[in-house]
Each structure stands twice: as structure tokens, then as C-alpha cells.
């Protein structure tokens, strides 16, 4: 039984780590801010979620489970709303007209 649980941890944590890699690569390689945001949310929700899922069998106390799940739920909540806020903030005011063109507008800020 414990072997099966360990195997479960192994698989879930590895999958979560892969999502983090995907998120980081997306953040580096995607061409504009909004698609980078998309990449980031994958790492946020799935990466952290799978890591938490994988760690659950390794923690014995029920309080520890609650804590781990609370971390993930909080990350989900803040990730979802913050994604909206960020997207709202970076979206050009005339987004709907620009949607067909490249969303990366204006000169680099820095």
C-alpha cells in the first residue's frame, strides 16, 4: 500500500514539476503579455495542484491535509482573479478593434 502511495506521489509531483517547466518556457517564449499570462496560469493551477496532490499521501495529520488543500484553493482563487485583473490592466483600451492585429502594441516600455 505504501509503495503504491509513494508511486502516486512520484507520478503526481513529477507531472506538477513538468507543468512548472511548461509555464516557465511559455513565459519565456510566448510573444505577447496575454499569452504569457495564459502560460503562467497553467503553472499556477495545475503545477501547484499536482504537487499538492502528490504530497498528500506523505503527510499523516488531517490538519496537514487541510493546510495543503487550503494552499491550493487560495492559489486557485487568487490566480483566477489576479489573472483577470492583470489582463484588464494590460489590455489596450481599444482591444476589440486591435484583436486581429498583434496584441503587442507600442514600443517596449523599458
Amino acid at each position: 500500500m505504501s509503495l503504491a502511495l509513494d508511486l502516486f506521489t512520484l507520478v503526481a509531483v513529477s507531472a506538477g514539476a513538468l507543468f512548472f517547466l511548461a509555464g516557465a518556457l511559455g513565459l519565456l517564449r510566448f510573444p505577447d503579455t496575454l499569452s504569457r499570462l495564459h502560460a503562467l496560469t497553467k503553472a499556477d493551477n495545475l503545477g501547484l495542484g499536482l504537487v499538492v496532490l502528490g504530497l498528500l499521501p506523505q503527510v499523516s495529520s488531517p490538519l496537514g491535509w487541510i493546510g495543503l488543500i487550503a494552499v491550493w484553493l487560495l492559489a486557485l482563487l487568487s490566480g483566477a482573479t489576479v489573472g483577470q485583473l492583470l489582463a484588464e490592466a494590460v489590455r489596450p483600451p481599444d482591444w476589440s478593434r486591435q484583436a486581429t492585429r498583434s496584441p503587442e502594441e507600442g514600443p517596449p516600455r523599458d
Binding site: 487550503a70 487560495l74 482563487l77 487568487s78 483566477a80 482573479t81 489576479v82 483577470q84 485583473l85 484588464e88 523599458d110
Partner: protein
């Protein structure tokens, strides 16, 4: 244990890289964002140093609250002068300063490498004297019993800071509501976040204070979380910061230190020393002080973030 060492090394490299990035960033804003990352990594380093209490404080106060202030300031101030601006030290003097700073760092590094072995420590003394305080977290024991005078001064230091900030208000603004918080255009997601997150945050804050007696946690960490949640509600425009002239606000601000002082002075008669606790009463008294202090600290921290009072210009815009 080699992979533990790899974790440590990677963390150290990341911290140093971000520190360099923070120093040499071209914009104030990039610097502030980098600083928040730096604080987060520092919190992880504290966990690796087996100091979860400090990690919690670093994350809540050193990163969360300080980062909020820095981001707010960077977003509103005129762009700070970059390294090439007139008035900046020339290339030669920068090299010289860099060399001298390198010497300082190297000296400190040499000290680290030549620290005595076995290390001098007060840990056995603390462990010996922990049972009378009836708390199991040694850091809480040190803060609340062994070095209570320090802790009293440290909670009191935040109140002069708040008074200092209030006294920087313009004449016309005095007595009004604090006006430094950014106020966002109300949007659905922000309102949702400001309504859903604070209940969790208050729970976490109280939890941190409560477990602080026996496990990592404590009043500063809890109060910082409570203050952050309050500021979130203020920023979303769901509530308005109280006017600094209010009696109730001022009473709550000094409540914690007053309780601390009162119990401390009562100790002169009951336990024969200032800030000493009578036998058998240490834990309930410490918990009472911590509860009162948490409330006051959360309020003070929130008001510090809210800034000096200002003329109330935003009246028509605010409101749920």
C-alpha cells in the same frame, strides 16, 4: 544530504541574482518587483535555516507590506534618476565604491568562515527557562517573557512611526481620512477578491497568533496578515479608511501597548518585577497581551500603509 545542499546553493544563487537585479534595474518599478521576489526567496532561506518564525515575518512584513509600499511609491513617483543621470557618481568613483563594498563583504565573509566552533549560544538557557513561561515556542518565550522589555519597545516603535506619518499631512488634510492608498476603478474580479479573500485571511491571521504560543507564528505575523486583508478591502473601495481624528481609532491603536504596560506594571506588585508574570499565570497573561497587541498592531500597520491624512477628494467615487 547532497540534494539538500543543492537546494541551498540554488536558493543562495537566486537570492544573489535578484539582489543584483534589484540594484541595477533601470526602472524603480522593476526594482520594486524584483525586491518582492527577493523577499520571497529570503523567506525560503529562513525555512532552510530552521527559523520558520522569521520566515513568516519576512514574508508578511518584509515582503508583503514593504513591497506594497515600494510598488505604490514606484508607480506614483516621477521616474528616479538612473545610473547615467547627472549627479550620479562617475564611473571611477563607482568602481572605487564597488571595490570598498567588496572589501566589506569579503570581511564579513571571512568572519562567517572563522566563526568559533562550537558556536556560542543561549539556546540551552532558553530551553532551561522555557517551562515557567508555559509556552512551547521558544521564540514566543523569548519575545514575551525573557526579553519582554524589547518587545514592548518594538510594538511601541510602530506608534511613533504612525504619528510621524500622520504629522507629515498637509495643513488642509489634517484630521481627514488617509489618502495614500491607490483606489482602483471598481471591477468585478477585484470586488470578488476583496470579498472572498479577507475571511480566509482573518482566519489565517488568528490562526497564526493562536499557534504562535506553541508553534511557529505570532502576533506580528498575524497582525500583518490582518492588515493586508484590511488594506485589500480599502483598495477595492468596499470600505473607507477611518479619519485619523476619530477617538475610537486612537483608543484601539494604543490598546495593545496599554494592556502590555498595565500587566507589566501590575507585575511589580504581583511578581516583584516590572513585566514579570505571577507564577501559574504566565500563559493566560501572555495570550491576553498577544490578543490585544494583535488588534492594535493590525490597525497600526494598516494605517501606516494608508499613509498621511489628506483632503477628501474622492468622495463621489468611493462607496460600495
Amino acid at each position: 544530504m547532497t540534494s539538500a545542499l543543492v537546494v541551498d546553493g540554488l536558493l543562495a544563487l537566486l537570492v544573489l541574482g535578484l539582489a543584483l537585479r534589484v540594484t541595477f534595474a533601470r526602472t524603480d518599478y522593476g526594482s520594486a518587483v524584483g525586491f518582492m521576489g527577493y523577499g520571497l526567496l529570503l523567506a525560503l532561506v529562513w525555512v532552510r535555516l530552521a527559523a520558520v518564525d522569521v520566515a513568516l515575518t519576512e514574508a508578511a512584513v518584509g515582503t508583503g507590506l514593504t513591497g506594497f509600499l515600494l510598488l505604490g511609491a514606484a508607480a506614483r513617483l516621477a521616474p528616479g534618476e538612473s545610473f547615467d543621470a547627472p549627479g550620479a557618481p562617475g564611473f571611477g568613483s563607482r568602481i572605487l565604491v564597488g571595490l570598498l563594498c567588496g572589501v566589506v563583504a569579503a570581511g564579513l565573509g571571512a568572519v562567517v568562515l572563522s566563526l568559533p566552533d562550537p558556536a556560542p549560544t543561549l539556546a540551552p538557557l532558553v530551553a532551561e527557562n522555557l517551562p515557567p513561561t508555559e509556552v512551547a515556542n521558544p521564540i514566543t518565550g523569548v519575545l514575551m517573557a525573557h526579553r519582554a522589555v524589547d518587545t514592548l519597545l518594538e510594538t511601541v516603535v510602530l506608534i511613533p512611526a504612525l504619528i510621524g506619518i500622520w504629522s507629515l499631512a498637509s495643513d488642509s488634510g489634517w484630521g481627514g481620512r488617509p489618502g495614500s492608498l491607490p483606489l482602483l476603478r471598481s471591477s468585478g474580479p477585484l470586488t470578488l477578491l476583496a470579498q472572498v479573500l479577507p475571511p480566509f485571511g482573518i482566519l489565517v491571521g488568528i490562526h497564526l497568533v493562536w499557534v504562535g504560543a506553541d508553534e511557529p507564528g505570532g502576533k506580528f505575523q498575524g497582525a500583518a496578515v490582518l492588515a493586508a486583508m484590511w488594506v485589500l478591502v480599502l483598495v477595492a473601495g468596499l470600505r473607507r479608511p477611518p479619519a485619523v481624528i476619530g477617538q475610537r481609532l486612537r483608543l484601539l491603536v494604543v490598546l495593545g501597548p496599554l494592556v502590555f504596560l498595565g500587566i507589566g506594571i501590575a507585575g511589580i506588585w504581583l511578581a516583584r518585577a516590572f513585566l514579570a508574570y505571577p507564577e501559574g499565570w504566565a500563559k493566560p497573561l501572555i495570550l491576553t497581551i498577544e490578543a490585544a497587541l494583535t488588534l492594535s498592531l493590525a490597525l497600526v500597520l494598516g494605517m501606516i500603509l494608508a499613509g498621511p491624512p489628506a483632503v477628501d477628494r474622492s468622495d463621489p467615487k468611493v462607496g460600495p
